[in-house]
Subunit: 359 residues, 2 copies
DNA sequence: TTGTACGCGTTATCAG
DNA sequence: CTGATAACGCGTACAA
């Protein structure tokens, strides 16, 4: 923090009607003076308040325009007790999911004319608290917390300040908190049902590490759908590993070494799916003819480049961000809809399942 | 914009020494009252200014602590004429390059306790101007403009406000502007020289669309280095196309159909390199034994997953963001180092070139 | 219809 | 050492 440099400009005393070109930004006081009206009148003219003669209003507005007057949000906020500003805390550093989330949030908020403070906490709770303190000091109207895990995190500590908080693609144990999450169960169901609808019966599932809630949810859905349709698959059809292409390769080796071979594979991520696709091709297995493939994430850079391009589950993260922002706004306006909300995923159909039954 | 709800709490009149638990945040006035000192004394005590009795200072601080007092940055900024806040305008939506840039900027600024307003202009100049206006109204201390192109864009219009502006991974024609860019020429040189050092002599270059300044720079470097070393390659060794894996595939077909075949390929992006690597493998060409490969971007998700993993040029975007932020800070502090600055790239060695000469 | 005066929360100056 | 008082820039009752 540096000491303030003294500013000696913009004195009220200066001769009236002089269109001063000091380097200090013009205040409403300057506008009033130049327009030859009082301060209060200028304010009303600029804000469309009260009853003024059209002539006066026009005059003031013209002067404001000409002077390049720009109301000082700081002063306004101080008065209004509302800053039209929210904080955005991202717990993980900016990655695959943060970006669309950011986009959705920023878009929704931006079109409401409210600004966003960006804070990257990088999984460091000390840093996070620092950011929160800073946001509180700046009197933000609310805070959005984002992550990229659906597993619970510790609640944000706003130190008693009754400030609206929303968790977007993040979850906390606190049942009074408002959390928005993609519906992993529905996503898993979507993928599996799509494959079944296409006539596949021996559907394997290659996914990420067990410790992810998302992994467990999607797998549960896969299992449930198979059950519902009376389709039985060996235990070896459920494979947990890493979120990587390499794991996709390895999983294919394992699957093809068994007696019962799958006619479809539902992958827990597009990266895994790409590894699977490459491995299958190298083993001479045709996709989708011999084995159909569904990915997860709709990470275009991967899904489109995979051969064949991936049919995959899209978590609609951008929309999730948008909704989160909108809900924060209504929280700020006093409403209180709370609890955990799951947003549906959708399926993006490309080539890895074929297009028709028996594909 | 909504009308303000009237707040009737925190009156100064209320009985002294009552640790009021109204829901309005405590002001320094409350602290003073409860601590039994005057407003000015409280301020000095909290800011470590002036000369106070240790006892008094401690008392005030204790009360502040207990009341959960948090100075209102709005009021402070209004007075200090400095908000400790900067705007970050990203012209492209958040993508591959924006995120490390963001990270670097936010990190540098965050550790200086200054907050960042995020603005996504999405290549829409109207929207951008709106954001700028908003930032000006919020009295930010400076603005960073980011892009993901090294090609010139139109300068930011700050409407005469003498506000520090820095372009990070973005460029404008204005020679008085401060722009930070990766050194694409040096990057191209780095890649080519690495290949030559490893004994390669027939180095092809497969890159993106001609219209990118970056493409032209890198290719120029490649050409120059070959010249310097007295290595001649056919014209067909320079291939411009798209920034995609598919183009990598296609380029390989073209290269291998000629009489003179390359013993190395310098690719304009990791995506292209991956396409090239896949295509080569499928043609039975070994990497790096038969053909060595260098990528560009060090996009880990791709570079590591490629088989073999990619040796590639890293533009050090995070560092670029960090430097941009730091320079903005010193601009704000009154210094003025301007002009275009190029930051060096570095080479990340993995497996696609082999490790030793003739590798 | 227009002008005056006060408050928003803080800091800084200048008496006491 | 401590306490009034005046800014900072703006909105808004209330008086003229």
């Amino acid at each position: 923090m540096r000491g303030a440099a003294k500013a000696e400009v913009g004195k009220t005393k200066s001769s009236p009607n002089l269109p001063q070109s000091s380097d200090a930004l013009p205040t409403i006081r300057d506008v009033a003076r130049v327009a030859g009206v009082s301060l209060g009148t200028a304010s009303k003219a600029l804000n469309g308040q009260g009853k003024l003669r059209l002539e006066t209003r026009a005059k003031v507005q013209a002067v404001a325009q000409q002077l390049g007057f720009r109301p000082n949000d700081l002063a306004q906020s101080l008065q209004r007790k509302r800053t039209f500003t929210v904080g955005l805390i991202s717990t993980d550093s900016y990655g695959r999911f943060s970006m669309p989330l950011l986009e959705g949030i920023e878009h929704a908020l931006g079109s409401e004319q409210i600004s966003v403070f960006l804070c990257n906490a990088a999984d460091d709770s000390t840093l996070e608290q620092q950011h929160v303190n800073s946001l509180l000091a700046k009197r933000v109207d609310g805070i959005i917390v984002t992550s990229r895990r659906t597993d619970p995190r510790t609640p944000l500590n706003v130190a008693g300040a009754k400030l609206p908080v929303i968790y977007a693609y993040a979850r906390v144990e606190d049942s009074k908190a408002t959390c928005l999450l993609p519906d992993d169960f529905q996503g898993g169901r979507l993928a599996t049902e799509h494959l079944i609808k296409l006539g596949r019966k021996r559907i394997a599932h290659v996914t990420g590490p067990e410790r992810f809630e998302a992994v467990r949810q999607r797998r549960e859905a896969w299992r449930k759908v198979l059950d519902e349709k009376g389709l039985e698959v060996p235990l070896s059809f459920a494979l947990s590993g890493a979120w990587s292409e390499a794991w996709g390769h390895e999983a294919v080796q394992r699957l093809l070494s068994k007696k019962t071979k799958p006619d479809a594979i539902f992958c827990g991520s597009d990266q895994i799916a790409r590894g699977v696709a490459d491995a299958l091709r190298e083993c001479g297995v045709r996709v989708p003819e011999d084995i159909a493939l569904v990915g997860y994430d709709n990470w275009e850079i991967i899904a489109v480049a995979t051969r064949p391009s991936l049919t995959t589950v899209d978590m609609n993260i951008r929309e999730l961000g948008r909704r989160a922002a909108l809900q924060l706004l209504s929280l700020i306006d006093g409403q209180r809809h709370q609890g955990i909300q799951h947003l549906p995923c959708s399926l993006v159909v490309r080539e890895s399942c074929g297009t028709k039954k028996g594909g």
